[in-house]
Assembly symmetry: C2
Homo-oligomer: 492 residues x 2
Amino acid sequence: MAGESTSIVILGATGDLARRKLLPALFQLACKERLPRGLRIIGFSRPEYTDEAYRELMWEGMQEFTDLAVRKDRWTVFSQALSYLGGDFGAPKDFTRLRQRLEQMEGTEGKANRLFYLSIAPRFFAIAVKNLGASGLAAEDTGWRRVVIEKPFGRDLESARALNRDVHAVFDERQVYRIDHYLGKETVQNLLVFRFANGIFEPLWDRNCVDNVQITAAEKVSVGDRAGYYDQSGVVRDMVQNHLLQLLTMVAMEPPVSLDADSLRNRKVEVLQSIRRWTPDEATHGTVLGQYDGYLGEADVAADSATPTYAAFRLHVDNWRWQGVPFYLRTGKAMADKATEIVIEFRRPPHLMFPMSPGEDLTPNILSLCLQPDEGFHLRFEVKVPDQGMTLRSKDMAFHYESAFRDQAIPEAYERLLQDALEGDPSLFIRSDHIEEGWRIVDPLLQGTENGAQRPQIYEPGSWGPEAADSLLAEDGRTWHRVCGVHGDVDA
Amino acid sequence: MAGESTSIVILGATGDLARRKLLPALFQLACKERLPRGLRIIGFSRPEYTDEAYRELMWEGMQEFTDLAVRKDRWTVFSQALSYLGGDFGAPKDFTRLRQRLEQMEGTEGKANRLFYLSIAPRFFAIAVKNLGASGLAAEDTGWRRVVIEKPFGRDLESARALNRDVHAVFDERQVYRIDHYLGKETVQNLLVFRFANGIFEPLWDRNCVDNVQITAAEKVSVGDRAGYYDQSGVVRDMVQNHLLQLLTMVAMEPPVSLDADSLRNRKVEVLQSIRRWTPDEATHGTVLGQYDGYLGEADVAADSATPTYAAFRLHVDNWRWQGVPFYLRTGKAMADKATEIVIEFRRPPHLMFPMSPGEDLTPNILSLCLQPDEGFHLRFEVKVPDQGMTLRSKDMAFHYESAFRDQAIPEAYERLLQDALEGDPSLFIRSDHIEEGWRIVDPLLQGTENGAQRPQIYEPGSWGPEAADSLLAEDGRTWHRVCGVHGDVDA
């Protein structure tokens, strides 16, 4: 084919992620006409399928996991771009076959770009990358080459560094797209807009006005059929090192010069670099780890497992902007509710001129940035109760995307991320230094759990975690806040 | 009667204000059990009525103008406190009769307080006060004496000063309660709460963050049956000198030490003192006066009347906080809509990092404090349009009292003000220096109209006033904003 063509090779093409997320996202992008012209998608995985059988498998996924199946006619056209090759991630000869197949499809004229998507078990990341290199598939001879690597990227600082070394032996950092699908969510991107497209928030966004920041990512579900994987990783790897720290960097970062990938990612890494490091002792005694009652009875969980399913802790961002403002983070499984929420608690007004009972003080204002369940913002402030002198009450102003943009479907995170990867914009992907800083922060916590220094506290499923998480804030004279979706959430 | 008793004497007891507002407010306060025990209300006016006939007249008003008539049984009890005395505001002997009547009701034991409410035509203010003094009614021999004086207080600086002198010949300033019912409105008081009970607004409330402030008080009605009075006063006396400047002081004032009357009123007077004065030329050429088409045909309006029914102008508050931030004010009759709204337009973000078309800039944030028609707040900010890269759109968060306090009726302004006057709290009344500063500001504007230097521009009824009002802001590169109740008002 003359001109330019692009191939996406999905390694792990028959897995859950490919069926539930990747193919649906690519199909959506095709329907929106956002894919490059002449795009090919090649599935590569252990099982043997014909092209036709693979298309059928993906169509079944589309019907089972999405509501895209209504567009059967478009699928019929789209799926012509889909083909399949059986192969082993560890077998160099299979990668040579993959190269031959690709070259054959690409022809010899024009540019031929290749995006490799590693939708495979983490233990295959290194060997697959090595084979991409050894087979010549990664050579930028006929067009660009990029690799998307799914999480988890490493199990700790040491393994992440080793993996980075392996990846960099084949790909330059500019070619590497480490994915954290959180970053593809509309609300996460909206945090940037919220902070930097509005004049009124940034002046409040520092130690002078903010008392503390709380980040909650609570899941109602228990580990379920992921228990086998989960028991090997635990909450710190599953949620803290990636999602929670991502949210923290978005909230705490300095304004970037522009939204290009390195401006943005430099500012984010700087936040991670500013986070005060735990000593092993602080990591053990200053943090709360929990395990929900019943976890030990889940299938594939070791009978004496000390894997935490809940974590709550306090971080300090030691820089000019945030000195003295604690960041409280918590996340867990089998919690009372599904909620991802960033709460900015502002300082109280400096001077009290309203009549109060002795010991009473003004209620601080709260800004809640809600990612789940109902994406939007809440601003909690004090108003006068009508007809009652100067009696005050807290009320909320609220903004919810879904009601504000009724005509606009919120896209899946993978849609945006795949499009960005195809367009060569790594802004919403994790750079190698970010990954390593993240591990450097949580490593002391992991070591404490894994060397037996800290056993998780048992908490009731359907609760908000161990009581110690409340004590953690109570020590500082504070409490956890929830705004979105709870009592007092006034949409008026 | 032993102990303490209080009498309210309403001068002008048969007038519109007494029937529509004062008696209903007093009755409401009685129903809420907020009146002092053993309160008497004595009507005093030219016509002759028996006590019973006066009660009947007031009951008719209650039925005609309020929905309080459902409480007939309570009225029957309440109205026993009501009595009436016919008399002339200019006749000393009638005041002597009033004193005798009062003394007879008060008896000789205990404290007997008196509140005189001047609900009379302004031309009688001076003589009525003089007669209150001369008759001995104002002497603080048996209890406190206070006088509530309705607006307008003077027609210009000179007459206001003269009236202040006359009032002060009889009453100390601490006994004088000059009323502007705007100050009794819940939302106006709420401005204080909004600004000073919340930590997040005050840091934004200055020249660093605010681009300009706009205050609109638009009435849909024309002058109607008030035309005779209105033609003698005009919009500057009717709305600007009192209501608009009041709202401006509430927005612009420094935080008071406390909410006691003098702390609060000192801060408000300081704002008026900081307002840059117009030269006669600036008053003539830098302001927009309008008269709605058809005004000259209203009954009792002079055929060649140059009385303005609309005013729009720019004020500068020359102090540390507001230097360089223009305050745009406008008010008029026969406008497109009924709306009283304070709009704070914030500065744009200092740095543009989002993709924009050439010449395009970010939309500034807006805070709208709406007093009418739907009391509440709006915060307009920029959000990301879902699924469209970094396309931005303005959306509103909204808070409305009525929906937030469904169970709580918003009281009439007079209720609060009468209660405050009875309790001796003049915070929400106008001090003499405030009145005079207000006139000092608008006098050049009045002189321009009245010496023929400026004729009002004719505008269409149902419009937003003369086009020159738009040009006034366009000169500064700005436009008038409306938020509450209009398109884009998102309650979501």
